[in-house]
Amino acid sequence: MRGARLVWLLMAGAAVAAAAAGDSFLLRGGTVHPVSGPEIAGGSVLVIDGRIAEVGTRVRAPRGVPVIDVKGLEVYPGLIDSATRLGVFEIGSLRETNDFTDLGTFKPQLRIAVAINPESEHIAVTRANGITAAVVQPAGGIVAGQAALIHLDGWTNEEMLIEPSVAMRMEFPHTGGRGSYAERKKRYQAQVRELEEFFESARRYQRAKAAGGPDFRPDLRLEAMLPVLEGRLPLLIQADREKTIREALAFAEKQKVRMILQRAPQAWKLAAELKARDIPVVLAETLSLPEEEDEPYDRPFTTPGELFKAGVQFCFATYSPGGASTNPFNLPYQAAAAVPFGLPREEALKAVTLGAARIWGVADRIGSIEKGKLADLIVTDGDPLEVRTQVRRMFIRGRAVDLDNKHKRLYEKYMNRP
């Protein structure tokens, strides 16, 4: 037992020595892209105890801190995917492996943070392409539950959490779906009524709780709505077409809640209002078809550039319930697709790093290479938004992350088949 452990330690030791010992190290001699500022040629990043201690061209490693030569390579902050099912989804067709949705229409008390499987193959596969953090979102019904922001590394789901609850996810009722238009309209109207009633009961609950009368009974469902009503937790509203987006905006205004808009292939039509009200947008569908048959062929590609020009905050993502979801490891290409169609390249990069961190309220901790932030770093051989670029190293909270995964293991195994 002891011997086996020693062998393991030696092996692990060799691997770690090749990367970095512990969570203090100096990356030296690469091109550093802090995102928060201009790129630094021949730059270094000093990481002490998992945090970025210094960034610049003349950074020295304190005694005992290992130096990792990254000459000829590029250092970027780890990428952030703002909508995924990572850890709560394994195989699409197997219900038992899908934990992102539950029964019911209003279920704000559901917390996806408690259901994340750290051993999910998707996590390692996603990591391998430079994604270090992800928002995991519940889906289904009108109010689906609370989304979590996780690091793509950790022995347990608790260790992975950056924020257990970053938003309350809901889908705004619309007239789409199955059935005749008359049926769908009726269903939509009923859902809008239910939604308003639900918020009204949450407000009554809030007042009753504040009053603290003898008849007050706790209610987990309504209790979970308080952070939303008090403006502490954003309401992440998925809305597709222009009309639904307008209704969602009016609803958020009436309810006086902080709103983040999601999916929203027609958000460009309301860019001025989104800007005026400072409502950010999670774009999960750059790589998708135009919403309408007669929209220009490049409509999904031009939307991010238009939002940028209008001054709207936005970030990219890969999961869109009911929409055109892609593999989360393809996140960089959701961003890249907008570049030839009007989005400056540095803004595309920002929208999968610092811009995303700002939207989720964690820009003090992740999203850029700045002193004091967690050392979520990737070392690449080129622009991470280019398909051909390889991610050579990854650090999450300063810990070297193993970039191996099921895909690579099967590749090596069968490549070597005689």
Binding site: E90, I91, G92, S93, L94, E121, H122, L287, S288, L289, P290, E293, D294, P296, Y297, D298, A324, N327, F329, N330, P332, Y333, A336, A337, V339, P340, F341, R345, D383, L385, E386, V387, R388, T389, Q390, K406, H407, K408, L410, Y411, Y414, M415, R417
Partner: protein
């Protein structure tokens, strides 16, 4: 609304396109290297390609401004522009033909064209073990269904294995229990094929006997014609190509062995996500493989899918292409090609071959398309950057020597189209209002 862009298209329909020369281009021939040069086009075909070509008199000259010219992309697996895809009710649906349900007005054709795709194989779906007869089209947006068809392309048929065919059928419209349909296991799938080809052999023999008797002047009654078995006889006789949807290694071997037993060939294994596990056997049979670059985990049989699949199969001697099976993905097959460089380290030419010459070979149309070579159809894409870059954008697409997509024309026409769209919507609204007031009954 589907006719948006017709004005532009009308210009393309004019007969006899004048000769066209593309100058000042980075030419990526795929089969004969890449260089700065020119491509001359005459009568819809590539007349010459090189660093300098002879410019025919009255030729239209297009200065590419240093941009990249490559062969039009060929997507060997798609279901766009079809009014129906699956038969679904039976396990052997060889009598159906997707050509009969081709919708030339589907905007998906224009969107694919704008993504650099010039040739598309339209397949029957994968609900039936033996699916229908397939069609190959060029994305000649604006032409009618007949005008889209790739003239003289070899006929082929779709087979399907695994979960899609063993899954119980869909719930009938109006409710009720889902249709039960044989097969329900991979054992049953093999049986369906062996039964069908045993029948096809008997049918083939019956016709052969009949013809021999007639030839000898003996009295003979013609066998009853069977539209389901006819295409299978064509398969047995090597006159119809076979594309087989397959995922798992075992089922790939199964269909290869069935084909070998009955003496025909599987030309292309489609999806073939575990092809990397049985690449040796695929290469030995001589089948090609067309796969997704990186789709996985959407169902159990896709759980061992890896993005290195294309590269492993290619390294082990299989002719590999990439396919979309998806109207959106097909708009950026150039980036799917870039992924086989990322995952498995193939070269630029190997990567681009997987969306051009390799699918052309698999479809039996490589004499016509798939590379920039004199004599081939002038099907070309012009990108503003190297097509394997995430930032590349299609500028122009040429098919048969005619410009079918021009980004500048698309952009400059948008305002007029939008105006026309609004007019039509207003007119429709006015008409519906009028109809409503007419139908209103007196109180």
């Amino acid at each position: 609304m589907k006719r948006v862009g017709w004005l532009f298209v009308a210009a393309c329909l004019l007969p006899a396109a004048p000769p066209l020369v593309i100058r000042n281009a980075q030419v990526i021939t795929v089969t004969k290297g890449s260089f700065r040069g020119e491509v001359a086009i005459r009568d819809g075909r590539i007349a010459a390609v090189g660093e300098k070509v002879l410019i025919p008199p009255n030729a239209q000259v297009l200065d590419a401004g240093g941009q990249y010219v490559m062969p039009g992309i060929i997507d060997p697996h798609s279901h766009i522009a079809l009014e129906s895809i699956n038969e679904g009710a039976v396990s052997v649906a060889s009598m159906t033909r997707v050509e009969d349900v081709l919708d030339p007005e589907s905007v998906a054709i224009y969107r694919a064209l704008a993504g650099g795709v010039t040739t598309v194989a339209l397949l029957h779906g994968s609900a039936d073990s033996i699916g229908g007869q397939c069609a190959i089209i060029k994305t000649r947006w604006g032409q009618d269904a007949r005008g889209l068809l790739f003239e003289g392309a070899p006929p082929y048929i779709k087979f399907a294995l695994g979960e899609n065919v063993t899954r119980p059928g869909w719930t009938p419209r109006g409710g009720g229990p889902p249709n039960l349909r044989y097969p329900a296991s991979r054992m049953g799938v093999e049986d369906v094929f062996r039964q069908a080809f045993t029948e096809a052999r008997a049918y083939q023999r019956a016709w052969r006997d009949y013809k021999e008797r007639r030839g000898r002047g003996e009295p003979a009654v013609a066998p009853r014609r069977d539209l389901k078995l006819e295409p299978l006889v064509e398969v047995l006789e090597g006159k119809r190509r076979v594309h087989t949807h397959a995922y798992r290694g075992d089922e790939i071997l199964m269909i290869l062995r069935v084909a070998e037993e009955f003496g025909f060939k599987i030309h292309v294994l489609v999806h073939v996500l575990e092809g990397y596990k049985v690449a040796k056997e695929i290469a030995a049979h001589g089948a090609g493989a067309t796969t997704f670059s990186d789709w996985w985990a959407y169902k159990v049989e896709a759980s061992d899918a890896i993005p290195y699949n294309a590269a492993v199969m290619a390294r082990k001697g299989v002719l590999v292409s990439l396919n979309s099976d998806n109207a959106e993905l097909m708009r950026r097959m150039n980036l799917e090609a870039a992924k086989v460089m990322k995952y498995g380290g193939l070269s630029e030419d190997e990567a681009l071959a997987m969306i051009t010459i390799n699918p052309a070979k698999q479809l039996g149309i490589d004499g016509r398309v798939g590379s920039i070579e004199p004599g081939k159809d002038a099907d070309l894409v012009i990108y503003d950057r190297h097509p394997l870059s995430s930032y590349a954008k299609v500028q122009k697409v040429v098919i048969d020597g005619r410009i079918y997509f021009d980004r500048d024309v698309d952009l400059s026409g948008r305002e007029a189209r939008e105006k026309r769209r609004r007019e039509l919507l207003e007119r429709a609204a006015a008409r519906s209002k009028e109809a409503q007031s007419k139908n209103r009954r007196p109180q």
